[in-house]
Symmetry: C2
Subunit: 310 residues, 2 copies
């Protein structure tokens, strides 16, 4: 079923302890689309780039089954650019450059064919832009997921809360969950955030995995795969979200049991992304590779135990 | 089967954001014994206290099935005392007081009946003391587990490496694994540490769970239970180790599959400990409570997924 993806398509320049890149193709929607496209063939992209963005990169997305009718190309303007340097632990980074460029006045316009999308994934953007996307939908999608970040909690909390009330799944990291709820305990934070509207909350903990909460007190935990080397963590969270929603769109099942599977699939896609710069590792993944990776998650956590009082 | 436990029996005074205690009964071997005693009835304790240690507390251990013949009571001396204050995040703490007292010259002497114990758990102590315990064993135990800490890596690395070469399971935290191996990646760290001798390595990550590695590249991950409130983290790691070895001693099975179960049981015991001060919560746990807690771990991580290429 169709998956509408809204988010940045951009240039990144990345430095890690293992190497550095010149400007490469990045942006949340780029990672999301590549990770989701592995699972579902009907992806509708809403984003904006400048005329400096290579046509090759757009063609590459289209070949992957991504509809780019909703990708605006602003003549005479430049694409969003982010540059950062990771510290030795790979868990923290300094932003060196942020040039908003085309993103500054981004007004998302949905082509007619997008307005009845079955599933929607709102990548991290100004909450007002996320709301404007949802307002253009003709039918309530089966499931709307949204990513956001602490910055919007600092500068646009009212809009953010309005957006959160419109969606089904919020994905944020642990520090953001604490900031949004004012609770240190993630269990308490989840309760408060689920009272704001969403049916499900995903708390991303980076190398420490991800938690899925629903409104009935169910909790599911997916670990991150222990890797010999994290080459470049950029885009891991977006690849996770893309794999998660791609799997849900492919299966058309929004039950808690299926969301658990989707979290594992998302974690698997993220584990590929961090092995190389950019979306290089996500391109051309084979079914055998993806299945073998998912099996690693099965092996990592599954156990059988007899309860004495059962 | 019998489980020999070596470690501190002591007084603690604890401050958390939720409250503070006067001197209460603490020490690694206290937590280990209580957590292990739930699972197996034949625990042999080796430790030392001063004549200030309450007889009631010793009697309470004996009623729990702990043999205290190897607990030395030093007349005219004082018990080991530790006092600490936890920060608001409960993940870090300041040590306020450390009085070694009887621990300073602790010479562990094994009663004859201990020298053929089936299983051994060496709590965190001077590596030389841990070695002296093993040297008194008449038969090679079926499994020897050992806990240690960064302090011994700083001041007694040679002894520590000698001890590590004598054991089967090393349990340390993530920072200690990095320090011991010189590797940041826990997967690489595990490989290096397993080359030092042990068959298994358990890396404890506190609220982020625990990893079990073997020498054949197998990895198992157990999450910590997401709790509404961590009341007092003191003793969580020791309760984990006690539940882990108590379960192995009770089942008499040292396979990787059974060590996975033991890790879950240890995590369950730790999740009880942090709910109250000291060993209060571990005392008098019912089978129904423990089974319900283990079931929470099952629910937290279990999922079923069909692989496309399977």
């Amino acid at each position: 079923m169709s998956l509408l993806v809204v988010g940045t398509v951009a240039f990144d320049a990345i430095e890690t302890p293992f190497g550095k890149t010149d400007k490469i193709i990045g942006g949340a929607a780029t990672y999301i689309s590549h990770a989701a496209a592995y699972h579902t063939g009907d992806i509708q992209l809403v984003s904006v780039v400048g005329d400096d963005f290579p046509e090759d990169a757009i063609k590459s997305m289209e070949r992957n089954g991504v509809n780019t009718e909703g990708l605006q190309i602003k003549q005479g303007e430049k694409s969003f650019f982010w540059s950062g340097r990771y510290h030795n632990d790979m868990n923290s980074r300094d932003t060196l450059v942020t040039e908003l460029n085309v993103l500054e006045n981004f007004d998302p316009v949905l082509p007619e064919s997008y307005k009845t999308a079955d599933y929607v994934l709102l990548g991290n953007l100004t909450p007002a832009v996320q709301i404007r996307v949802l307002e253009q939908m003709k039918e309530r999608p089966k499931l709307i997921a949204m990513d956001t970040m602490n910055f919007w909690m600092d500068v646009a909390m009212d809009d953010l809360k309005k957006a959160i009330a419109m969606i089904d799944v919020l994905t944020i990291n642990d520090e953001e969950a604490r900031q949004l709820s004012g609770e240190y305990s993630l269990v308490k934070a989840a309760k408060k955030i689920l009272e704001m509207g969403p049916s499900y909350l995903v708390i991303k903990k980076g190398e420490h995995g991800a938690l899925l909460f629903d409104q009935n007190g169910h909790v599911f935990f997916a670990p991150a795969l222990p890797l010999e080397e994290v080459f470049d963590p950029t885009g891991a969270g977006d690849s996770f979200a893309g794999g998660f929603m791609g799997y849900i769109a492919a299966t058309g099942d929004t039950s808690f049991e299926n969301l658990k599977r989707a979290i594992i699939v998302g974690s698997a896609m993220a584990s590929f992304t961090v092995e190389k710069f950019g979306v290089e590792r996500l391109k051309g993944l084979s079914d055998v590779e993806v299945d073998a990776r998912i099996q690693k998650f099965v092996d990592l956590v599954q156990f059988e135990i007899d309860l004495t009082t059962a």
